[in-house]
């Protein structure tokens, strides 16, 4: 049964197209999805996932269980970067360690979405409010990352000349909470909520766009993500053995911690898997963009390569079904 889960995941269209993208780079095909087409799909996916999450949140309401899960999500996004930083400091300087740690404290929306479609195909239900957890976990690690840099270095130098440039805490908070991916996700979530509450006719009319198209659009986008991830993989040598190990070990460890929390909170199967995936995934969108601004001393190829080149494919291909094995063994069907 376990291996069949992995196989079923491997043989789903999204994962197969992801693999096709990886192969395109390996065999040096000139297949590319030119910019800004991938942006179209990434905006679409955020909008759709937010909208659907919002309407489901409206249906389920905000009870104690929901609030506990949200609290646990935010806690994880504060704890993970700190513990990761401690591990990463063994080999990396504080700037790079903080940047990588922030990436792993945050989340990957595409991994989350792939896990959702995996659950749908499996016929396992999950709660819409998990999208709110996704949104809540995106930003805190950015702040933690910057604080780690502040406390572990006495950075001044080049910074001083930039006082007018507005690189104070204000602009960091701005970047963390109003960057386009968080903004669009949260905005669509609120819109989904409002429409579900006050204008249900609008839901049906959005459905062909946000629901029916979703699976195909995800497959198309993962084709591009496969290409991009494989291109990143070629930077692997720059990353070095330690970081490669971290990029595979971290999702496993964080998924396990997430699993323990899910057990504690008595999350049902679907929500437990999504929670584990949130903990296990690393950000290659919001965090790198923020780190470039706040920690330019860090080398982007380190944090992007590990999050996008290793951890992302690992979760998509192996991680999700693996975590599901654990979930199915220990959490009873409700």
């Amino acid at each position: 049964m376990d291996s069949s889960l992995v196989l079923q995941n491997l043989l789903s269209p999204p994962v197969l197209f992801f693999g096709l993208g990886l192969i395109a780079v390996l065999v040096r095909s000139d297949l590319e999805i030119p910019a800004p087409l991938p942006k179209l799909f990434s905006l679409y996916l955020l909008l759709a996932i937010g909208f659907k999450g919002g309407l489901e949140l409206q249906h389920s309401g905000l009870d104690r269980q929901v609030l506990l899960t949200m609290g646990a999500a935010v806690t994880m996004s504060l704890v993970v970067p700190i513990s990761s930083f401690a591990v990463l400091r063994r080999r990396l300087d504080p700037f790079n360690a903080a940047a990588v740690a922030a990436a792993y404290g945050s989340i990957s929306a595409v991994t989350f979405i792939t896990a959702e479609t995996f659950l749908v195909t499996m016929g396992v239900s999950f709660d819409g409010f998990m999208v709110a957890a996704l949104a809540l976990m995106e930003s805190p690690a950015i702040i933690v990352g910057l604080l780690l840099v502040r406390f572990s270095t006495h950075r001044q130098g080049a910074r001083q000349g930039l006082s007018e440039g507005g690189l104070g805490l204000g602009s960091v908070f701005h970047e963390a909470f109003l960057n386009s991916s968080v903004f669009l996700l949260v905005g669509s979530l609120v819109i989904g909520y409002l429409v579900a509450a006050y204008n249900p006719a609008g839901l049906t009319k959005m459905e062909p766009f946000t629901e029916q198209l979703f699976y195909g659009a995800l497959s198309f986008f993962l084709l591009d993500m496969g290409i991009v991830a494989a291109q990143r993989l070629q930077d692997l040598r720059a990353a070095g053995g330690f970081l490669i190990g971290f990029a595979i070990g971290a999702p496993l460890v964080h998924a396990l911690v997430g699993f323990a929390v899910a057990l504690l909170l008595h999350l049902p199967q679907g929500d437990a898997l999504l929670f584990m995936v949130l903990c296990a995934s690393a950000s290659y969108i919001a965090v790198p963009a923020a780190m470039r601004m706040t920690v330019p001393e860090a080398n982007p190829s380190l944090y992007i390569t590990s999050a996008l080149g290793i951890t992302f494919p690992f979760n998509i291909v192996v991680g999700i079904p693996l975590y599901m094995v654990l979930v199915q063994r220990w959490i009873p069907v409700t």
Partner: protein, 93 residues
């Protein structure tokens, strides 16, 4: 008259344009989606979907004194964020 070519990350484009405005540049032109290689590594458009962005190429035609003001305004930005700037001669058509 002088021509200034700046190549910087798209992420810093707004800051650079503001600095140009403050330094008194009479105008500027911007080309985005520029890729390349420099001391800081290779920049591709592959991450464009993530908002990480490629480079931007900014061209400024201006007189020498303005160029000096621009140089002073951009120095801290270039040294903090990376990017290059080169100057050549130019004449109005």
């Amino acid at each position: 008259m002088k021509r200034l070519d700046l190549i910087i990350s798209e992420r810093e484009l707004d800051r650079v344009c503001e600095a140009l405005n403050r330094a008194g540049a009479p105008g500027y032109s911007v080309m985005r989606h520029v890729t390349g290689r420099g001391p800081g590594g290779t920049v591709s458009e592959g991450m464009e979907f993530s908002g990480f962005g490629a480079n931007a190429h900014v061209i400024v035609f201006c007189d020498e004194p303005v160029l000096d003001a621009i140089r002073a305004a951009l120095q801290p930005l270039l040294s903090y964020f990376g990017g290059v700037g080169y100057v050549s001669d130019a004449q109005p058509l």
